[in-house]
């Protein structure tokens, strides 16, 4: 399943700056097909992208923006992943009775988001990837081990929030699509808060604290950003929870490439 990797490449700003316009890359993609396009683009550069500059590079800039179709398919991939995950969780019996109502509700929402995006994309909608929730080498067992299920649920929701946020600028050319994306984005945040609190955590993200396995630190990378709109807020709110509260008061975006790197762990 190389679609994610192709998206990853196409959304890599540095790579594209070197290789010419994005349109050219897309044309190449269309002309020669997935496999060959992959082979023809230097992977090393794509893999070591602008991750270190997460906080600034995730800002919507005019320098690079994906097409609306790219963005919606990107969102659809995540929604497919979430929808499958919760359905398999509910089917597996791993969820205790007292938590069923919550996960039924979340599952229902993810199914709706999939249905909406598939309808919005029409013929352009990607097919559902095959997911592997063991995470391959990570050998996770979320459908037999409830703490693992909960941890992944939190990771997917917090990632979803960051993913939609990172695409707001790219969708700003369409009032409707931007509005719909925002309407989904905040529901993912409601989910994230709920699952976090069920895991005895705060509903919000303090600094870049990762309480999931170390392999998922990328989900929280850059959440410790203290600079908002060019204003350095560091040390400003000593009487109001300090920098911990300041980082929690602002959620941070992830780029498409950063999200795809996380999601690809679960794509077979």
């Amino acid at each position: 399943m190389n679609f994610i990797k192709i998206l990853d490449i196409l959304s890599n700003k540095e790579l594209l700056n070197e290789k010419g316009s994005r349109r050219d890359s897309f044309q190449q993609f269309k002309n020669v097909g997935k496999g060959i396009a992959l082979a023809s683009i230097p992977f090393g550069l794509a893999a070591t992208s602008s991750k270190t500059k997460a906080a600034t590079s995730s800002m919507a800039t005019a320098a690079f923006q994906a097409s609306n179709t790219d963005v919606l398919n990107f969102a659809l991939t995540l929604e497919y992943l979430e929808a499958d995950f919760y359905q398999m969780g509910l089917d597996s019996g791993v969820i205790p009775a007292e938590d069923q109502a919550v996960f039924n509700q979340i599952s229902k929402h993810e199914d709706s988001h999939v249905a909406f995006l598939v309808a919005a994309l029409g013929d352009d909608a990607i097919e559902k990837p095959t997911f592997d929730f063991t995470g391959g080498d990570l050998m996770l067992d979320p459908f037999n081990d409830y703490p693992t299920f909960m941890a992944l649920a939190q990771g997917f929701e917090d990632t979803g929030v960051r993913a939609y946020k990172g695409q707001a600028g790219a969708l700003a050319n369409s009032n409707e699509l931007l509005r719909y994306a925002l309407q989904i984005h905040s529901v993912e945040a409601r989910h994230a808060s709920q699952v976090r609190r069920m895991r005895q955590e705060r509903g919000w993200i303090i600094q870049d604290n990762n309480t999931l396995p170390d392999d998922f630190a990328a989900i929280y990378a850059g959440e410790d950003n203290l600079s908002q709109g060019g204003v350095n807020l560091s040390g400003m709110f000593g009487s109001f929870g300090g920098d911990d509260a300041t980082t929690a008061a602002f959620d941070e975006p992830l780029t498409m490439a950063e999200v795809n790197a996380i999601a690809s762990i679960f794509i077979a």
Binding site: A172, V187, S193
Partner: protein, 255 residues
Amino acid sequence: MKKMKSNNLQNSIRNDRRNFLKLSGAAIVGSGFLFMTGCSDDDDQPMPEPDPEVFDLGPGNLGILNYAYALEQLEAAFYERVLDGSYWAGAPSSEKQIFEDLRNHEVIHREFFKTAITAAVGSDTSLVLPDLEFDFSTVDFGSRDNVLNISQILEDTGVSAYNGAGELIDVSDSAGLTYLTLAGKIVSVEARHASAIRDLISPGSTNFASDMVLVDIGGSGLAYDKATPPADVLTAVVNTGFVVTPFTANNLPNS
């Protein structure tokens, strides 16, 4: 000494604000906050007669920023009162923690907007929404139910307000894109708050993302937060009776 202690919160707010503004004065150089004269798309409509006595939120992105600032002022003021009240004083530590966090976040949002707008308008600070006065005399801050109920309304309203405002931000330059991203950074935190408050009201249920607050898009199901236009949000806010200081929103963009 005693008196100082009872005024501790007020003092720390003042101190924080003073420090904040002083320090940020240097920090804003080169920031994305440039004054925008962004006009609404409805130039052909007659402008309402301006009332020099009443503050108007203003046009374009300035108006949207002032609008968000008004909402954050309301939220912050409410949670400051919650933390002065007897419900909070006697609440279990987990609930105290949540309200303390919410107070902190909303104060931070409020002060952030004050600085951002002040930077955006340059020398003309008369364009910055003034500190609003609130009247919470109808709220029983000793009542858990009452406090949670108002909190839920404020957070759900905040979510729908930012969702509705996103498309009204003029993103034709990088400052506008910065504002849109900032709205996204804040709205998801408001949604996290809403979820937590709703779960306190009805723990372990579907209330955190209730069918009662979500809407449908295109027949795909009740799985989306509302996106409410400013006029409707402001009408709801005015109807709470909490806002004492009058202001108008006659020039906000509506598309």
